[in-house]
Amino acid sequence: MAKSLLIISRQAPWSGPSAREALDIALAGGAFDLPLGMLFLDDGVFQLAAAQQPDAVQQKNLAANLQALPMFGVEELFACGHSLARRGLDNDALSLPVEVLDDAALTALIARFDQVVTL
């Protein structure tokens, strides 16, 4: 049975290639049908803010790529409630259908995956 992998994305969308490169790991794994999950934590939750305009900073639309995750079979998408609240995003509509988890649920989430990569 394939080992499951949780990808934790902690960086804001345009603080360098990190957000994009975390997503690439997820998409590559999805293409191989591997059991994956993706968690947005700390500044990573900024990737989920709605109505961002990346072309203002001459960047690609990360949101469009994030939306491809379910198409690649990566449907287990999570966001840290504490991180969202701390960044004023907890009452906003998010650009991706994520399950918002509190700390205890996040501990359990990390525990159930076979491997983790945090970017």
Binding site: R10, L106, T107, I110, F113, Q115, T118, L119
Partner: protein, 98 residues
């Protein structure tokens, strides 16, 4: 499954240690290396946070980094590289907070 968390960033002005301590499972362990060692400086906020987390035998520090920074490991057990390898095997997986 248990996780060995590894942090290498200074806790001052960085969120990794705080987030890790919030998510740490009851049987998880934490290895501090690189500048994360500064969290072991007594009398600091990160040190207080580590004390409060009460990790007991589950807190480790890479010996070379303690030595380089002339820090004592009162709270953490100092490990060398062979022990680091063993730690990764003792837990089910490793989560490095890159």
């Amino acid at each position: 499954m248990t996780t060995l968390h590894v942090i290498a960033h200074s806790p001052f002005g960085d969120e990794r240690l705080a987030s890790c301590l919030r998510l740490l499972g009851p049987q998880d362990a934490l290895l501090l290396c690189g500048d994360a060692i500064y969290a072991l400086k007594a009398g600091t906020e990160p040190f207080a946070a580590l004390q409060a987390a009460n990790l007991g035998e589950r807190l480790f520090a890479l010996a070379e980094d303690l030595q380089a920074r002339a820090l004592d490991s009162q709270l953490a057990k100092a490990v060398d590289y062979p022990a680091f390898v063993e730690l990764t095997l003792h837990h089910d997986k490793v989560n490095s907070w890159l």
